[in-house]
Amino acid sequence: MPITFLLVLHGIFSVFLLGAVTHQFLSVFWPRKPGQSDFVARARGINPGGYVQAIIILYVIEFVLGAILYPTYRVLARPPLQDLQLTYVIGLFEVKENFAAIVLAMLPSYWYFWKRYPDYKTTRAALTAILFATVWYDMIAGHLVNNARGLL
């Protein structure tokens, strides 16, 4: 039961994180132009710097929840995947865990270049793009792995 609860929580927080990082990514790479007021333009027309702290907090929460759930995956989910020779499913998870760890270590810099050092726009944009790609990949991969063999 606690594992189910944590897994659902992991999914809910991933939605919050995806929303925040997608807003920031869109506003950096596809900013709203003056006069645009449709739904998509409003999604792009946010202050990207205002999302930094929320993204960091949500990412850390997601990482901790994932780290707590990981042993259950290792014991309950991965052996059947190995038995069925579904190596690509295992691979999806391996990529997810590795990218997630490296991006975790980038968060202090991500905060610094957004909040303290506005001179380097390319750096800010690159860090946002890496975070965006990682968070989306991790959510999709996690979903696919859970579909193949859940933790229940």
Binding site: Y70, T72, A105, Y117
Partner: protein
């Protein structure tokens, strides 16, 4: 604080990524070098120092936590060294390598992980 952070934060991430990618790629049950700081055995809920292989009695090993801990230590050492370097002279280096090195680490890892996908 900001002056140190401008070098220490990127150096931490760079050191972390530069250690983590080969650590994941080259760790095996018989590795000569102990890449993870510790090994966790989820079936028996036990932590052991260094690289320990699993077996039928203690179950599968988890090295992921150990890689993160090792990579964080390497990152900290890099951060300390970087904070001693001149700020102005290395400013652009940190601003570019903070995203180039992790992307290189992703590419390195992906090249290693292709085997899972039969590529």
């Amino acid at each position: 604080m900001d002056k140190i952070a401008s070098r220490a934060f990127p150096a931490f991430a760079i050191g972390f990524a530069a250690y983590y990618a080969p650590a994941y790629s080259f760790t095996g049950a018989t590795s000569a070098f102990t890449w993870p700081l510790f090994t966790y055995f989820p079936e028996i809920n036990e932590w052991r120092w260094g690289l320990v292989a699993g077996n039928d009695t203690i179950g599968p090993p988890m090295w992921w936590y150990g890689w993160i801990a090792s990579a964080a230590l390497v990152g900290l050492v890099c951060a300390i060294i970087a904070s001693l370097l001149p700020e102005r002279a290395t400013e652009k280096l940190w601003a570019s390598s903070i995203w180039i090195v992790p992307i290189a680490a992703f590419a390195f890892l992906w090249n290693w992980e292709r085997v899972w996908f039969g590529l």
